[in-house]
């Protein structure tokens, strides 16, 4: 296993309160339906009329599509340029509002806290909060999770 010392973001760079931009992306009806056909084939994710008749009020993206889109925005926002060694899980996701066809989806990531790993030298755990909004600046989804990040300088620490 190798950790790139050249990564733009290492554990040291994720200081508490730091923010990163996520997206935004615009979600099309075609993308919503394509994801739903593969993973979440419920009427409100497949059909405009069924979506309108549902509690979601329109053709709406699957919640699992929304988390997958968040993952892509995280990857492009900082993760692919970081010393990430993966994430053990996600503390919480709140689907606050529907993400409808044609909506914009984007927001910010904030570093909540961080700590060094007790079991592995040179590794730390960074806690993030992601807030995603639509084009009307309405909160659509919140996600909190922690990720493992290697230190740039394992000897010196953070």
């Amino acid at each position: 296993m190798s950790v790139s010392k050249d990564a733009k973001y290492a554990y040291e760079d994720f200081h508490e309160g730091r923010e990163f931009q996520l997206g935004p992306v615009v979600v099309t009806a075609e993308e919503i339906v394509a994801f739903a056909r593969q993973f979440d084939a419920q009427p409100m994710h497949l059909d405009e009329a069924a979506g309108k008749a549902s509690l979601l009020g329109g053709l709406a993206a699957s919640g699992w599509h929304m988390t997958s889109l968040l993952m892509r925005m995280i990857a492009d926002g900082y993760l692919l340029e970081s010393t990430s060694e993966g994430a053990p899980g996600v503390d919480r996701v709140d689907w606050k509002r529907p993400l409808l066809a044609g909506d914009s989806f984007g927001g910010t990531t904030k570093v909540l806290s961080r700590r060094l790993s007790r079991s592995r030298k040179g590794l730390g755990l960074v806690a993030f909060r992601h807030e995603l909004r639509n084009q009307r600046d309405e909160l659509v989804m919140v996600c909190e999770h922690s990720a493992m990040m290697a230190l740039r300088d394992a000897e010196r620490g953070a």
Binding site: M1, S2, F35, Q38, F39, D40, A41, Q42, M44, S54, L55, L56, A60, S62, G63, W64, H65, T67, S68, L69, M71, R72, A75, L79, L80, S84, E85, G86, A87, P88, G89, V90, D91, R92, V93, D94, W95, P98
Partner: protein, 158 residues
């Protein structure tokens, strides 16, 4: 859980939703779109990563859980028919908590998915609708835990 909801959804009964094979092609296709970290898109780079081989994005695993959940629903519908119960309407989910990816899902793995209803209650804010709480799980073919989360979904009884 209240009487009518309990007739539909036995509590603490672990339902096996079925098995799904994660092919290398599907892992890479999902990850190219949503989670292009090297251990999800590049078999050679994955060998040198912390995971030691090509493995599925955690969001791929949760999406397949949803797919298996829906594929299993006709079995539930048959059970309701036998009990003389008309099928309920499923609505959106408010979110989930404590998602853990306990073990990587590697290319070629057959993963078994489970659903356990853990509770539920009527929603005073939406007459006729209930909030059904459940746990979603995934295991390797030899019964080792791979994924788990706690979630809920809105259900309207007829």
């Amino acid at each position: 859980m209240t009487g009518e909801l309990a007739r539909y959804f036995p509590t603490d009964e672990r339902l096996t939703l079925g098995s799904h094979r994660f092919t290398a092609e599907a892992i890479v296709a999902f990850a190219r779109q949503f989670d292009p970290q090297r251990f999800h898109v590049d078999p050679e780079a994955a060998k040198k990563s912390v995971f030691g081989g090509l493995c599925a994005s955690g969001w791929h695993t949760t999406a397949v859980w949803m797919k298996k959940n829906l594929e299993h629903r006709p079995v539930e519908e048959a059970r309701w028919r036998e009990a003389g119960l008309a099928a309920p309407t499923f609505g959106p989910s408010p979110g989930f908590r404590n998602l853990k990816w306990t073990r990587p899902v590697y290319a070629g793995d057959d993963i078994v998915f489970f659903l356990t209803v853990t509770g539920g209650r009527a929603l005073s804010s939406r007459p006729g609708w209930h909030l059904l709480e459940h746990v979603g799980e995934a295991e390797t073919a030899d019964g080792k835990p791979a994924m788990r989360f706690e979630s809920a979904v809105l259900v309207q009884l007829p």
